[in-house]
């Protein structure tokens, strides 16, 4: 339980500036997801909060107290690593009790906490096993269990699900969400997977090139992306961008702009407020929906997400309708122009 503030936080490695002037205010017990493409600095930012790296500029505060100079245990954090980082020579039980032993917690109390964590994570039967005898999902649970026993103020997850297969990932996602409701700790979760971000987060922080691009709830980011980067990053398949100009007689004549529209808002084969026509490049049929790639003569094909099956021959021509309400407008700097919520 802690409110976490980052004020003007920066980090440089030699001459490389990985994090630039990050200002964030994370509420107590909030589930915040840092998301962004690889190399955007999200993991570095998490490690700054953890205390595994020192900040080069700015201040990090937990509940108003500056923690810049404190070690990870002094900050009261617990962290789950991408590779789990279990101690290979220790059993599950020893892995989970190691931190408590170092903290000189009373033995009976420590054991009680380990058993409690093991019960929550259904590890009861595995306590005597070594990590190498566990499956990926079980190792992940042990890593989380090790974090729980410390009873931390802040939980940090560094891409915890990226080593798991798809089915297990969905299951663990739900377990982590349940865990958050149960533990009432502030959680920061780093991922490059925007689906994980959308499903888990109270608020999402979108990072790119070491800078915060937008902070908001998943729906805010989806409906009101602040800029082209966020618009393109949130949503799958990603948003389509089409070049556009203001019509003659408009206040800013001939200013180049971009129109963005999400694949799920395009109408396949039916004209709308505006329509474009193009050649079908490929159709991907996912069962419940189909993704149609339409060549408009631009660099990237237009992607249309159509509910249900479509029966279109490749190389055929198709009309795609663009409902005006669903469109986003971006100025030359890539910033969004204000719009009403839709969809």
């Amino acid at each position: 339980m802690a409110r976490i503030e980052l004020a003007g936080v920066g980090k440089r490695f030699g001459s490389v500036e990985t994090i630039r002037d990050v200002n964030l205010d994370l509420r107590d017990r909030e589930f915040v997801v840092f998301v962004g493409p690889s190399g955007c600095g999200k993991s570095t930012l998490l490690r700054l909060v953890a205390g595994l790296e020192d900040v080069s500029a700015g201040e990090i505060r937990f509940d108003g107290e500056v923690v810049n100079e404190l070690t990870p245990p002094e900050r009261g954090i617990a962290m789950v690593f991408q590779s789990y980082a279990l101690y290979p020579h220790m059993s599950v039980f020893e892995n989970m009790i190691f931190g408590l032993k170092l903290a000189k917690t009373d033995r009976a109390e420590a054991e009680r906490r380990v058993r409690e964590a093991a019960r929550i994570l259904q590890l009861d039967r595995l306590l005597d096993r070594k990590p190498r005898e566990l499956s990926g999902g079980q190792r992940q649970r042990v890593a989380i269990g090790r974090a729980i026993t410390r009873d931390p103020r802040v939980f940090l997850f560094d891409e915890p699900l990226s080593n798991l297969d798809a089915a297990l990932r969905v299951q663990m996602r739900i377990e982590i969400a349940k865990l958050h409701r149960r533990l009432d700790a502030t959680m920061i979760y780093v991922t490059h997977d925007q689906v994980e971000a959308m499903t888990l987060a109270d608020r999402i922080v979108v990072l790119d090139a070491g800078e915060v691009r937008q902070v908001g709830t998943p729906i805010e980011l989806y409906q009101h992306p602040a800029n082209r980067f966020v618009a393109g990053f949130i949503g799958s398949p990603k948003m389509n961008f089409l070049p556009a100009t203001y019509p003659k007689g408009f206040a800013i004549p001939h200013e180049a702009v971009e129109v963005g529209i999400r694949p799920e808002h395009l109408r396949l084969g039916e004209p709308a407020d505006a329509s474009v026509e193009g050649r079908v490049l490929a159709v991907e049929r996912l069962g419940a929906e189909s993704w149609v790639y339409v060549d408009l003569g631009l660099d990237d094909p237009l992607v249309v997400k159509h509910a249900g099956m479509v029966d279109l021959p490749p190389e055929g021509t198709v009309t795609v309708g663009l409902p005006a309400k669903a469109c986003y407008l971006f100025d030359r700097q890539g910033l969004s122009l204000p719009r009403a919520a839709f969809g």
Partner: protein
């Protein structure tokens, strides 16, 4: 030639080659054992299976303080192993895990030290030993052997520590472990195979060392085994008691062979398997 006969010939050739290699490796030791059983008068008669006669073995212990020499060798070699592993592990942690200015320069200096020929450091080492008042005492050997055991211990352990996942160390930091705790409770158990290998090599090097041992000791009571063996002399200056020398050699080689056999399983081991990912 059919394919089958060709394969048979290939097989036969393989085993022949293997037999040759084994013969080449084992024959000298076998000959030492055989010679150690022969009395001096029969030494140069070719006899592949003489009856085991332990007279030479008794003679080795009767004619010089050989038991004492073995104990000396054990003390020196064990102390060298313990010291090189302890110092090497701490150095390797720093060199493998902590960034500091001049780290690679330091690493290469350590490597450079191991390249000095022993003769080159001998006189300087002698002055040092005298200055420290260690002449003709076992600590002089322990100190001088560290010169060649430490560099490779540090190098091998540094490589192993670098190969350990960084997240493991960070997990320990988050768990509240201080550097010394990380080294002893997390790294040490994982470095078992590396420690066995380097420890064994250090032991063998210290056990077999001759030049320093010859130079820094004077009395028979302080000698280690290789020097003692070299200085075994016969009744007259014209007689070399081969039987005694061979008996002594066999006795000091056997512990090494036993050690290698004990540790070979630990040397081949992948303890970190399962630490990261699956």
């Amino acid at each position: 030639m059919s394919r089958r006969t060709r394969r048979r010939f290939g097989r036969a050739g393989f085993y022949l080659l293997m037999a040759l290699i084994v013969l080449y490796a084992v024959f000298p030791f076998y000959w030492a054992i055989v010679s150690s059983f022969k009395p001096g008068s029969e030494m140069f008669r070719i006899d592949f299976f003489p009856p085991p006669n332990l007279a030479n073995y008794y003679a080795v212990f009767a004619e010089q303080p050989f038991g004492r020499n073995i104990v000396n060798s054990l003390i020196v070699a064990s102390a060298v192993v313990v010291l090189s592993l302890a110092l090497g592990l701490l150095a390797a942690f720093a060199l493998g895990r902590i960034r500091f200015r001049g780290r690679s320069l330091l690493l290469f200096t350590i490597l450079g030290v191991s390249m000095f020929p022993q003769v080159a450091v001998l006189s300087g080492m002698f002055e040092l030993v005298r200055a420290l008042g260690l002449y003709n005492r076992l600590p002089s050997l322990i100190l001088s052997y560290l010169i060649f055991t430490l560099p490779f211990t540090v190098w091998v352990l540094t490589t192993f520590i670098r190969a350990l996942p960084k997240e493991l160390e960070e997990a320990a930091i988050v768990d509240g472990a201080k550097p010394l705790t990380i080294v002893t409770r997390v790294f040490l158990p994982l470095l078992g195979p590396a420690l066995s290998t380097t420890g064994l090599l250090a032991f063998i090097a210290a056990w077999n060392e001759f030049l320093f041992a010859l130079t820094f000791t004077l009395s028979g009571e302080q000698r280690t085994v290789p020097v003692a063996i070299a200085l075994i002399s016969g009744a007259s200056a014209y007689e070399l008691p081969w039987g005694n020398i061979m008996a002594a050699s066999v006795m000091v080689t056997v512990p090494l062979i036993v050690l290698v056999l004990i540790f070979q399983r630990r040397i081949v081991s992948g303890l970190t398997a399962g630490a990261v990912k699956g």
